[in-house]
Amino acid sequence: MQRTRRTKVRLGALWAFLLPSLMLIGLFFFVPVILTFLISLTDMDYSFEWNWVGLANYIRILTDPWVPKILSNTFFYVSVTLTCFNVGLALVLAIATTHINEKVGATIRAIWLLPRITPPAVYALLWLWATRREASSLFNWVLGLFGLPPINWKLTYPWLIVILVNGFVGTSFGMIIFTAALKSIPSDIIWSAKVDGASTFQVIRHIELPLIKWPLLFVTAYQTLSLLTSFEYILLTTGGGPGFYTTEVWALYAYDLAFRQYGGTAYFGYGASLAVFLVIIGIIASVTYLKVFRFRELMIEPKIEVK
């Protein structure tokens, strides 16, 4: 009797603590997803009428003449940013800053956090200033030091700007995770390797990298999904241009169709179906990552000893 009552109390407390977050998740995650899916089955515009059109919007995605271009842009953007910055540079920075004087390393990491904590609009504006076409802009000033003529960066190398802008923001996340993982490798393993005569490079290659495999895979998976849905920095810098959909990615295309129409004509329905498509791509990618990289193992059994 006593026990049942106690269990009930515990259950009650459990629910009391869980309910607020469950409600928040339900309200701000599940309801929007369901609404987006329902809207994607309509041809809703600014009259907000629910005209059901079945799967017409999804069929339209398959016949949309611009979709192949948008899709290849998205693939290029995600893969290059991920390889060069969000995982690549993050790893290099984490390794480099843990192999040097700790104070200097920490300072460098703190500096790399700046893009992340700067408000997106301000950060994008700084990039726009730095890459202005005038000879006095930061990039062109550097070129000028070498006697080179100024370049209209946004026009000539739009992808470079898009990838740099996103990459500099995205690097910090991986950097922190990798640093934490590297720091939790027991020092005696590294010391014994050093005693055996291993060089720094060998330590990195044969001890550190294998031991941070799981964080590496986690960051890769997480950042793939994050990049797939991110568009705000592209919107703020190149706006998907210059010219014809040069740097337009899937998420931005959906946003443009739904909200950025000159005549106030909105394609909420089609935009929503594009968003749902992205969710589907995200789910497929997640499941693939989970299966291929065996995430379950990561969750069950810690691969890194905690000091």
Binding site: E49, R60, A110, L113, I117, T118, A121
Partner: protein
Amino acid sequence: MTNKIALYAIVGIIIGLIIGGAIGYMAAPKAAPTTVTVTSTVPTTITKTVTAPAGATPAVTTTLTTTIIKTITKTAPAAPGKPKTITIEIWTIGPDPPSEYRLKNFYIAAEVLNSWLEALGTGVKVEIKGEFFVRPVEWGEYKNKFYLAAKAGKEPHIYLTGHEDLGFLAEKGYIIPLDDYVKKYWDVVYYDIIPTLWDAVKYKGKIWAIPQDTEARPLYFRKDVLRKMGWSEEEIEAFPKKIEKGEITLYDILKIAKEAVDKGLVERGLVHRVKEGYDYFQFYLGFGGRLWDPEKGKMVFTKSAWKKTLQWFHDAVWKYGVIIPTQFSGDWDKDFHGPFTKGKALFCSGGTWHKGEWVSKGLLTEELFKNNIGFALHPAGEPGKKPVTLSHPLVYTITKRAVKDGVADIAFMLITLVTDPHLNAIHAVKSAHLAILNSEILDSRYAQDWFLRDVAYMLKYTTFIPNHPKWGDYSRIVFTVLKAVEGDKSFTPDKAFDTLLKEIQRALGDAVIIEE
């Protein structure tokens, strides 16, 4: 040690936040609020002009006054003591700043109206709560704001918009038809409206709005550059006439522009708008295309004209090199106003209001404009076709909310008061828009403006874009395809045409007539 690192990180973040905040503060666009609330400072001269309109007979004024008073006292019966205030909410947009009289005129009108009401001791006062949106707010954002407000029941009572939206607004029940009002006050001022403008505000046989202004879209050219190319003054003066006669075609424009670029006189041969809009439909019209079939009430897609238009744009960028490939995603100042007003572009496919913008912004003086800039109709696409221009009248509508709030009558009164030759002339002259009333052309301000007088002939060649609920789709598809043609060399005119046709058929179905 770990604590120290954490401390450094925290200090770093705080410094970053401070720097970021400071940069943000400095970078925030100054003095460019999204909306401009215009104060009701009224020059005495204007008030005088309005109280004694030259065009109207005293009898008419009396009729109007009496009607207004009757309406107002009916809506808001006089109460002893405190005057009852009726608030009318109005939304207007430039987005060019000189067009501010689209709203300011309402304050002037309200002041006049209030002086009448006060003199007659009605105990009622009309107050205007108005907004005038300017860049960076563009049309799309403005319209979106309206639709969202309307869904929340918070839309304004009077809403200024482009005439092409009337189909959509009427169909979805956002606005009310104004036929009865117009009939009732026909002799007060509406008889005076330039007849073709009524076509722009009709949808399914009803009048849904009152014209606010109109304009022409000239092809501007730099006289100074033509002089450097060896053209005589006579040749330059004769240029607009040759275009009017159809002797100069769109391909001639490309040749002249290429010559100027090749000679190093300009960096760009031609600049056109940098965002979605309607200007570029003039190229299609110039190749003999039709947009609207008034009898069937359907939009039109002329295959041959679209083929030629797409070919022209592709040639302009990739064969002649006179338009830059990124023009359609450019910046208004750096890719449109700047190059043309600084003489770095020979031609500019613009609108009459741009003259107002250039002068008011100080990009050009009135004298420099007169000496160095010429303007002509948009040339015919090929020999035998006609030159064109496109008008896009802006219109005042009365929303459903005005009816709900019981102020539709007063809202219409105010629109009637601002549809005044003198008040509208202030707007026309300041913003370089064209008259909507016959008597406005005779207004002293308007008549003295040489530019407005000289472009007036263009209205003979004008066309409107369709008032169709699906016009936005037509426009959007054309813009995307044109942007692709300019931006991507491998997107050939043939490929572009196939895409355009397929997309138009898919999106518009029965709403569009496809003709050869």
